[in-house]
């Protein structure tokens, strides 16, 4: 093989038929190469019956290219794409549970929520729930800021990403439907 490349964080976007068992088939490809998936999100896409998987992994580009080719081989996978950080817009969502007493003590938490572009989505007599959307770095910043007040529970979602590419999913799938070729998915890499 060529020189060892450096591992970097990449975002994978995989379009699939909405079929059970596919998540397993997909993750097997990573686990057999001992690649850790740092985040994974599955959702519907803008095309009915088509799911979009968004995965974040830290790997060398060369290694990842081989993985992506193996993902494309899966019968129910329509397309798989790898993106650098600058080829996508992405967000994660974080929820923080803080004791109501801490919130009521002074205006500090409310100020943090405001300054961080977060919001309070639930408020009851025991605790409040804060929601913050942003990059991992941003949600982590708020975590650190809230930590002195006592975080009762914290959860962060997987990354969701949208590429800057001009490709339209629907047109891409139409092309697959009319073609006997898989060149499209290859050159799109």
């Amino acid at each position: 093989m060529k020189m060892e490349q450096e591992a970097k964080e990449y975002t994978l976007s995989v379009l699939t038929e909405d079929k059970p068992g596919l998540l397993n088939r997909l993750t097997i490809i990573f686990s057999r190469r001992k690649i850790n998936i740092s985040s994974l999100n599955v959702s519907s896409s803008e095309v009915a019956g088509v799911s979009r998987y968004t995965l974040v992994v830290t790997e060398t580009k060369e290694h990842l290219e081989k993985v992506v080719k193996q993902i494309r081989k899966l019968v129910d996978v329509l397309g798989a794409f790898v993106y650098d950080e600058d080829q996508i817009f992405y967000q994660e969502i974080a929820l923080y549970k803080v004791a109501a007493s801490a919130f009521e003590q002074n205006g500090m938490i409310e100020k943090l929520v405001r300054n961080n572009g977060a919001r309070i989505i639930a408020l009851d007599k025991d605790h409040i729930i804060i929601e913050k959307t942003g990059t991992k770095h941003e949600t982590h910043e708020l975590y650190l800021a809230l930590e002195p007040f006592g975080i009762l529970e914290f959860v962060r979602s997987g990354r969701v990403a949208i590429s800057k590419s001009k490709r339209k999913t629907e047109a891409f799938i139409k092309e697959l439907e009319s073609s006997r070729s898989n060149k499209l998915s290859i050159k799109d890499f």
């Binding site: 081989k66 080719k69 129910d76 799938i173 697959l176 073609s179 070729s181 290859i186």
Partner: protein, 572 residues
């Protein structure tokens, strides 16, 4: 569901179990290898009345069924089909499925499953075969209602046979087999998310032909892709026009006659001296339908670094996986070769070919002369294979197991007809041979099928002698018996200072064992008798077995030790 295609025809109501058989008939299945059990009993009950249309071969173990289906597929070129019940029946298929996956063999494996309402409850003989088989199947699917059966089966056959072939598993719950459904069938012709045949990039064809036309020391490595795409003729035209020397991988053997003047030998760990050495001297390596397995490349960092590499390969995931290519043609071998041949110039490489000849002379002096023509001492495996090759004129189908006998058979059987080499290459499955051979015979009844097995591998699936007996399947079985797990012993000798840790075997009387199955058998240990015994064995009507007692501690050379460069191929 895509299967819901409107077909205006008389509707027929059948049980799911019968629908399955009707689907198989629609896919031109004539032979099924299988083993019944609780969760697949409705299918077997329907099979009872289809006995005249579908030949079912009852093996003695589900592993036997799947290997037999593999042998059938590889000799006939059709999809191999096997049945097993849920739980242990299904898990027993896994080795064969994994073997078919790595060696690109088209299979449709049908397993019974507990009723839908019991799924996930650890019911009797329930196992998550969909989960278990996922990493080793090209596709799998669980049918839980009868009306999904045509959809699943049509897709299964399409996926198994198209593109780079592979195994598919369809798991059918018992209730789905017992439900009534309206039968209609339409073969699958397209799946939008699955594009098995890429358009050939003509620029790549031109780039490749330019490299070929400019080469001074080209070498072709031919793999099973040529056999799978049925491109033997196109391949021969291509290499003959461009005058290219050809070396074969293990699974590529028999794609080109070993007697062809441009054939320079077999490459890889126990391949010939010339092809291994010259891989690191050629200026252009043209890989056709092969995947640069580590048993071919040795240390991949020292493999053909001086050469430009052209890779003709149908599976895009194989391109640049192990060896970086200069020109990759992502295409079916037949299609690519048809386009490439008109673009290459007629050439010949006399002095370059002479170098292979010189290597062969050296190999002959150091290895072959002793292996093929020993004057005294115990029988050697190579001389036995050589005799068989001479007597059969290289025209038989040779099915091998895994180990020394496999390497010797691959080295010394002089294949002269296409689709004649059936062996477990990628997975290296001991126990593959006996069931695969019976399947191969049923796939191509007109051809002679010879099973070459070691004493170790023979005992891994020896129960299939029962299948051979019951159906009187004309397989000629050769056991090369050294009372050792020979290849492991060879490694222990060479790399573990002769610590023969658990490789010596006390074996049963194989002749008596075969006789107990009503299979005629004989044993030979004398050189003077070898020829006669082989002739008798091969001319016996029906199945017969020949046990040849061979030298206990014979080593297979040449050898590229694991992790070494192909240039470091050892002759002794």
């Amino acid at each position: 569901m895509e299967a819901a295609v409107e077909i205006k025809e008389k509707k027929e109501t059948v049980l799911g179990s019968e629908a399955l058989l009707k689907c198989l008939l629609k896919e031109n299945v004539d032979t099924i290898f299988g083993y019944p059990g609780g969760a697949i009993m409705p299918v077997y009950d329907s099979l009872f009345k289809y006995e005249n249309k579908l030949k079912h071969v009852l093996t003695r173990h589900e592993q036997g069924a799947v290997h037999a289906a593999q042998g059938y597929a590889r000799s006939s070129g059709k999809v191999g089909v096997c049945f097993a019940t849920s739980g242990p029946g299904a898990t027993n298929l896994i080795t064969g499925i994994a073997d078919a996956q790595i060696d690109s063999t088209p299979l449709v494996c049908i397993t019974g499953q507990v009723a839908s309402h019991l799924l996930g409850s650890d019911a009797f003989q329930e196992t998550d075969i969909i989960g278990i088989s996922m990493p080793v199947t090209k596709w799998n699917f669980q049918v839980s209602s009868a009306d999904e059966i045509p959809y699943a089966i049509s897709r299964a056959f399409y996926i198994a046979a198209s593109g780079r072939p592979g195994p598919v598993l369809i798991d059918i719950t018992k209730n789905a087999q017992q439900e009534l459904m309206e039968f209609k069938y339409k073969s699958c012709e397209k799946i939008r998310s699955y594009q098995p045949y890429p358009d050939v990039d003509e620029d790549k064809i031109l780039e490749a032909s330019k490299l070929i036309n400019e080469a001074e020391k080209p070498l072709v490595l031919v793999g099973q892709g040529v056999t799978l795409s049925g491109a033997e003729k196109e391949f021969k035209q291509f290499i003959e026009k461009a005058g290219l020397p050809v070396a074969s991988t293990l699974l590529g053997l028999s794609a080109l006659s070993t007697k062809h003047p441009l054939y320079v030998g077999y490459t890889g760990m126990h391949g010939n001296y010339g092809p291994n050495l010259k891989t690191n001297e050629c200026d252009l390596l043209i890989a056709v339908g092969m995947r640069f397995d580590d048993r071919v490349t040795g240390d991949v960092n020292k493999f053909a670094k001086q050469a430009k590499v052209i890779h003709i390969e149908l599976d895009p995931a194989e391109i640049d996986k192990n060896v970086k290519t200069d020109v990759a043609i992502n295409a079916d071998a037949k299609q690519a070769l048809k386009l490439l041949t008109p673009e290459v110039q007629e050439k010949s490489y006399e002095s370059w070919l002479k170098e292979f000849k010189n290597c062969d002379d050296k190999e002959h002096e150091k290895v072959k002369s002793q292996a093929l023509f020993p004057e005294d001492g115990e029988l050697k495996m190579a001389e036995v294979i050589h005799q068989i090759s001479q007597i059969t004129e290289g025209k038989s189908i040779v099915v091998t197991d895994v180990g020394q006998h496999q390497m010797v058979a691959s080295r010394y059987y002089q294949f002269d007809q296409k689709k004649s080499n059936i062996t477990s290459g990628g997975l290296g499955t001991m126990g593959f041979c006996l069931p695969a051979a019976l399947g191969a015979k049923l796939g191509t009844p007109k051809r002679q099928v010879i099973a070459i097995i070691g004493d170790g591998g023979f005992q891994m699936t020896v129960q299939e002698l029962g299948t051979i007996m019951q159906y009187n399947i004309d397989v000629k079985i050769l056991i090369l018996n050294n009372n050792f797990l020979g290849m492991v012993r060879q490694w222990q000798e060479l790399f573990f200072e002769r610590r023969y840790s658990f490789t010596e075997m006390t074996n049963p009387d194989f002749v008596a064992l075969a006789n107990s199955y009503n299979i005629s058998a004989q044993r030979v240990s004398e050189r003077a008798e070898l020829d006669d015994r082989i002739n008798e064995w091969l001319s016996t009507e029906g199945p017969s077995l020949l046990e040849v007692m061979v030298e206990k501690e014979e080593n297979v050379f040449p050898m590229v030790p694991t992790g070494s460069s192909v240039s470091d191929v050892r002759l002794e």
